[in-house]
């Protein structure tokens, strides 16, 4: 058998895998990336957030290529959601006056975006091999030591490495080697059915590039403008509908057009559009959009990033964010251990702690967000009411994220968590009401929405990453986790926090500001 040795082997060439591989190779380490397909290839998850575009992409050095690709620019999300019959905006800038070039993100064709990141990885020194399927993880009781795979010519190969990163997506067959198991959320077992249209209408003015998420009686729809004429349209519905939509193409088409018909705003936007029926975008696809997390994100010698580790419902466009965020965290931990700066346990506790916190805050935001729409009739929405969350589901959530920070303690009691999520839902609903319709003076000001504690929670790390990308090194970060580490000056590793001369106010008394 052909045997080789690397510092790190990354399995999977999506955004999470490319991010970790590139940021480790940039520190001079030997990195091999193994990808099962040959790029470009289709993928779903097309709406990005500013932290990815202005934070991670800048660290990776692909800002210019992203600009050249001329992706659709979004300034936020527009939602027909909750009690307001008119869409309302969640914008990235606090006000139109303070909207700058970094207050935006992109809608991307993943075939193009993922390829930019993968080719950039190769350009930054990563050895990239496509069309290879990893079959086996090499491990002993102490640690993971590498992988075996069969190359494109059918020749078996063995790679030994100090770290194996599983970035092989939601259908990973490797994640169990981290020593845990995948735990699904009972409340967010959704399915997505999606396709592509030519000639769909656009939201007015500055919102024309936004993602539109619109609730209807049986679920909600995404409407993503990928170009002036191409639109990605998907329905997120209960998994109990699986039988109807997993049939042949004509059954799927009937189902999707039925959902469009029930979702007033999307029906109007598509009234003069035609569904694409040929090529990559011609297929109607179904995907499980279950929210889940693995009980272990790492073990000595191995880390999980992206959908291999966890996934949150697509409504906030978080798929690529969670993957690239985890890629950044994993790279910092690996770089710190390989350079000898930080012990493995401590470096990866930081990786896992931050990653779980991010999953946890988005889960709370998701619960509050779905709860806002929960007065609707119909099974889909009734099951999403926070008050219908049972103790066993909340206990499962606590075991995954270790509770939700509240003051200086962590809430772990199921009833207390249900109450907390309920409060978050009410604050969110009031802020949405105070913000008002899109395309109005108040509707362009995020004063109310950014002030909601759960929104502050989800924006904290995203802002930090974006700030580092925008302002460069040394942004004066304090530890996110009690007793934790901070990013090094170059952002590519961990460092102990700098000693402070002035007392730091206890951050947890107040909700973190966006």
């Amino acid at each position: 058998m052909h045997a080789e040795e690397f510092d790190v082997v990354v399995v999977g060439g999506g955004p999470g895998g490319s991010t970790v591989a590139t940021l480790v190779a940039m520190q001079g380490h030997r990195v091999l990336l193994l990808e099962k397909e040959t790029f470009p290839r289709y993928q779903i998850g097309e709406s990005l957030l500013p932290a990815t575009v202005h934070g991670v992409c800048r660290l990776l050095g692909v800002t210019e290529e992203m600009e050249k690709a001329a992706f659709t620019v979004k300034r936020g999300g527009s939602f027909r959601w909750g009690t307001n019959p008119v869409p309302w905006n969640f914008l990235f800038a606090v006000s139109p006056e303070l909207s700058g070039p970094t207050s935006t993100a992109y809608q991307v064709e993943r075939m193009k975006f993922d390829e930019i990141l993968l080719r950039n990885a190769a350009a930054k020194g990563v050895e990239v091999r496509e069309n290879v399927a990893v079959g086996e993880v090499l491990e002993d009781p102490e640690r993971v030591r590498g992988v075996r795979y069969t190359d494109a010519d059918g020749c078996p190969r063995e790679i030994t490495a100090k770290y194996v990163v599983d970035a092989s997506g939601n259908r990973t067959r490797l994640s169990g080697h981290a020593g845990g198991e995948r735990v699904y959320s009972e409340h967010f077992k959704n399915l997505a059915l999606f396709g592509y249209f030519e000639g769909g209408k656009r939201l007015p003015g500055a919102d024309s590039g936004n993602i539109l998420c619109a609730a209807f009686d049986e679920g909600w729809m995404w409407y993503i403008p990928l170009s002036d004429t191409l639109t990605s349209v998907g329905a997120v519905i209960s998994s109990t509908r699986a039988q109807e939509i997993q049939g042949d193409e004509s059954a799927r088409e009937e189902a999707l057009l039925g959902f469009v018909d029930r979702c007033e705003i999307v029906r109007g936007f598509l009234s003069e559009a035609t569904r694409i029926t040929t090529g990559t975008y011609g297929e109607l696809r179904v995907r499980k959009d279950y929210s889940y997390a693995n009980t272990r994100f790492w073990r000595p010698g191995m880390a999980l990033v992206g959908d291999a580790a966890c996934f949150i419902d697509p409504v906030f466009s978080t798929g690529v964010h969670l993957a690239t965020y985890a890629g950044l965290l994993a790279a910092r931990s690996i770089n710190s251990v390989l350079s000898g700066a930080v012990a493995e346990d401590r470096a990866f506790a930081e990786f896992e702690g931050r990653y779980r916190r991010e999953y946890g805050v988005f889960y709370e935001f998701l619960s509050a967000f779905y709860d806002m729409q929960g007065n609707e009739e119909g099974y889909f929405w009734k099951a999403k009411k926070v008050t219908s969350f049972d103790s066993s589901a909340m206990e499962a959530f606590v075991s995954l994220v270790g509770g939700v920070a509240s003051g200086e303690t962590a809430l772990t009691d199921p009833d207390a968590l249900v109450a907390r999520f309920g409060n978050s839902s009410r604050s969110l609903a009031s802020a949405v009401e105070a913000t008002g319709d899109m395309s109005t003076a108040s509707g362009e000001r995020m004063r109310h929405l950014f002030g909601v504690p759960v929104v502050g929670g989800v924006m904290q790390e995203m802002n930090q990453i974006q700030r580092r990308g925008v302002l460069g090194s040394a942004t004066g970060e304090t530890p996110l986790l009690p007793g934790g580490l901070v990013p090094s000056d170059d952002g590519l590793a961990w460092a102990p926090p700098a000693p402070r001369t002035t007392p730091i106010p206890q951050e947890n008394h107040e909700p973190p500001h966006p």
Binding site: P50, H54, F92, A93, V94, S95, E97, L98, S99, G100, P101, T102, S103, R447, F450, G451, N463, Q466, R467, V470, L471, T475, G476, T478, T501, T502, I504, P505, H513, P514
Partner: protein, 76 residues
């Protein structure tokens, strides 16, 4: 950034740092949004000021984005 009191000099210096300008280039009574301030830079300033003893709401800063008005907001 320093931990000095919130004088106009300090505020101007901190603003200049996130805008990649010199303090002399920052105009006190012109909206900072016209001088390159955006949402993420504003959040950076607010967080740092709050970490060094200010108690200021980013949303208040956003509504009055000039150095002169921030001196008033932060000065007491």
């Amino acid at each position: 950034m320093t931990d000095a009191p919130f004088t106009s000099e300090r505020i101007r210096a901190d603003v200049a740092e996130v805008l990649f300008l010199t303090p002399e280039e920052v105009v006190d009574d012109q909206p900072l949004s016209d001088q390159g301030l955006d949402s993420i830079r504003l959040m950076t300033l607010a967080e740092r000021w709050n970490a060094t003893g200010a108690e200021v709401d980013i949303l208040d800063l956003a509504e009055r984005p000039t150095v002169a008005q921030w001196v008033e907001l932060l000065g007491h």
